[in-house]
Amino acid sequence: MNLSLHYPILLIVILFAGAYLTPLLGLWNKKICFPIAVLSTLISAVLSVVLLFSVLENNIVSYYVGGWEPPYGIELTIDPLSSFLSLVVAVIGFLAVVFSKNYVGHEISEKKQPAYYSLLQLIIGGMQGALMTGDLFNLFVMTEIFSISGYALVAITQKKGSLLASFRYLLLASIGTTFILFSTGFIYMLTGSLNMEDISNLLPLIDNPWVMYSGLVLLIIGFAIKSALFPLHTWLPDAHSIAPSPVSVLLSALVIKIGAYSIIRVVYTVFGERLSDGFGLIGVPLSWMASMAILVGSLYAIFQTDIKRMLAFSSIAHIGYILLGVSLASTLSLTGGIFHMLNHALGKACLFFCAGAIIYRTGIRNIADFAGLSSKMPITMAAFAIAASSLMGVPPASGFMSKFYLGLGAYQENWIFLAVILIGSLLSGIYFFKVLAIAYFSPIKEPDSKIRGPELPFSMLMPIVILAIASLAFGVLEDLPVTLIEQAVRLLLSN
């Protein structure tokens, strides 16, 4: 048996296997949970690198689960877009697990740590599954897997307000998943198939476009709730700010991206052939909602006093940039949108890690108390500044490049969208510079000598430094991701 043929399914199964083994072995020894989680996420990260190279060579890698051929069996389809995002999920997921090693004792009691590591692997596995699958119903199942583990991870600390935040998240997001199931049934009724490629071949045969559009609109609403697109964002600020920091990283940097990815997948791959004549019908409201998300998210972020809440509102704005790029549907804007997925994932993960490190070291959450942090935690604040400048779109950092592509694409369509992108960047400058100004230039009220020793343990410093360097490096070496993204976009728009 040639194992290399089974890499796609192995990548997902190894995470789920880890998720089941962790609580079982945790009964015997709680110390073993962390190594299992590191091992399974590391193996899946290595596998996703291997898959990326094989996708670069062959363009699309297909895997038939259990050997049943589509349209009857479940198919895993890995094209450049899903392979690229799978690598991002694998790397940031691995870093989040590593970061948890020292951080977890800070917020979660030892009794719950096996459950915590198990849920971490489950949420990463669910996201990988949603990225790889080529089957509409399987996409729903994977979405539910990472959503339910997300609700549990928000509530796991049981600190004040976390239960309610988790409940609100559950209530709204399960409306979204139910819509997804409903429209999956709708599309199955129309075409008699659940395989995405099969559906895209069958849809042009449907006479009545309105039936098809209603299915698509339901699907988009479902995934828009998952990705917290304005005005469906109300669950996000509470859930993302109250979760333990490594979980905030996963939710804010990755989970909402999977919603955006699913919208891309549905609009371009499943409905691509049918929509070339009428994408405007859905694209126009989507692009205006995305523009509103940019402005509203940035405005709210300015007025936050809690650092993690500010970062959560900034995520609402950035999902707006991504979906603006997706909904404008030109080569440039789609390239910018997908590139911004990478940059926001790197930048926001780094910022939430920094916020977690600051809470771990000093216990400060309020931005006004940040005075003197630059001398207490120089490396963390430097990484914070780099990641923040990437999200603002300051030239050497990678966020500039993606906003540049987005701006070019937006200008072709309508100058208002370009104005929205520029205003959004200015507003993000206001809220990030507020934090940096207090941390670097505000006078220190009282010299605090209580905290001594190294700045942070290695397991917390490493993810922060890696992500900060990456968000600088992809700005200089932007060819690396852009070549891959352009290959992905060409494939998406060729339908």
Partner: protein
């Protein structure tokens, strides 16, 4: 319009249930009633899926000689998965509600927002 109703009754019923569930989730103040609304909401979709697979006079989908008219088995597989997912969701939500009650001593969502 009205002559469309009898053959499509399950679909109309599922849409009615969907709206009832959504209404309960939005307007009810008690958290447990919100979860009941969520259950009605997700069950309506299951009804929709089952109605889709039904064929008038169809045999069970097991191959028997001489029978050519079967019901569609695939929606049943989807519904089974959907039931499992809804079960997991409901049990988790109820555990959350128990803990919320322990913490706040109320299940009234409007009182909870003020906290």
């Amino acid at each position: 319009m009205i002559e469309l109703l009898p053959p499509n009754l399950p679909y109309f019923a599922s849409i009615a249930l969907l709206l009832i569930g959504l209404y309960a989730m939005i307007t009810k103040r008690n958290l447990i009633k919100k979860i009941m609304g969520l259950n009605i909401f997700s069950t309506s979709v299951l009804l929709f899926l089952i109605a889709m697979g039904y064929r008038e006079g169809g045999a069970p989908p097991i191959e028997v000689e001489g029978v050519t008219h079967y019901v569609n088995p695939l929606p049943h597989a989807l519904v089974l998965t959907g039931i499992v997912v809804a079960l997991a969701l409901t049990s988790f939500a109820l555990i959350l509600i128990i803990n919320i009650y322990k913490e706040h001593k109320t299940l009234d969502s409007e009182k909870l927002t003020k906290l």
